[in-house]
Symmetry: C2
Subunit: 185 residues, 2 copies
Amino acid sequence: METVERLIRSTQELLWERGYVGTSPKAIQIAADAGQGSMYHHFSGKAELAKAAIERSGAELRAAAEEQFTEGTAASRITAYLRRDREVLKGCRMGRLTSDPDVMADPVLRAPVDETFAWIRSRLAEIIAEGKKSGEYPKSLDAAKTAATIAAVLQGGYVLARAANSAEPFDLAIEGLIDLLGAVS
Amino acid sequence: METVERLIRSTQELLWERGYVGTSPKAIQIAADAGQGSMYHHFSGKAELAKAAIERSGAELRAAAEEQFTEGTAASRITAYLRRDREVLKGCRMGRLTSDPDVMADPVLRAPVDETFAWIRSRLAEIIAEGKKSGEYPKSLDAAKTAATIAAVLQGGYVLARAANSAEPFDLAIEGLIDLLGAVS
DNA sequence: GTCTATAGACAGATAGAC
DNA sequence: GTCTATCTGTCTATAGAC
């Protein structure tokens, strides 16, 4: 793999594990097996590298979600998305960045995070709207609200799981939501 | 206020804003208006100070939650808890610590985080169980699952709000959950 | 493109005076 | 209890040789 690619992937991994504040250029270089000069030749610094890594992660996240969003009824697509196999104890690569003050303070770094969640909520809302048309969900169900609730359960599930050092609370939260959604349909 | 108290409160605030990795002893000393020698006289270092701050925050969080948990029907107590005024864009003081690798890696620092969320889920489950007894909720509603879902929506709501730099997704997620809970009761 | 050298600032303490 | 001095290592680059 080429140097630039190794640098971006290593940065993605480190941002996931340790966040922006906790990730040093040195650590990235070691993980990517690239020298100092090499890194600074390809990127102006930590921020530019992080931008590339966050954008890449956002694209990957959307692609992974879209896989569940393509076939089946509205309810089955949402359930498939919720129950998809996830590295629960590692948390969400994108969600964890929201607690990184330096990422949130920099519009360039926050933008891809913002866009990713906006996209997910919007896609979920579309699917719920389809479900209302098909009669799977009642007309009274608010698509935007429900979409936000679904996205929040996933993000919050990660938080509860990491706090407990166990995937159990994540699974409980997901199944609790599926039960509630099943009750209205 | 006394020095020890100022140190703990300043650490609570800094952990909330910048996390453990992003908070330096120096920053704590400045915020607490305490000297280096003074800080190291009262605490062995950053970790011990963080332990005191996290435990304090956990106690405050439980006390704040218990306020909403005391009067009214089960459903009204849960709604009151969900709609309580919160500093949404600052995120959850306890939840943000779950993305701090050094906190999660140290059992002493993770314990109060774990206990706080375990307590909240357990209290919510108790209230839902009461609601089932009183007939507010159907017998088929799983208390542990639903409690996890409620806690997750709050934590995830913070994540979505910070990503969007707006309280709106938080409010949407909360209201979406309240609608779902209303539909089953 | 990649390497090594250098550098100022900060992190996270420790030591000893007062 | 609090203060100042000191210390080792790391952070985040920049500069210039190869």
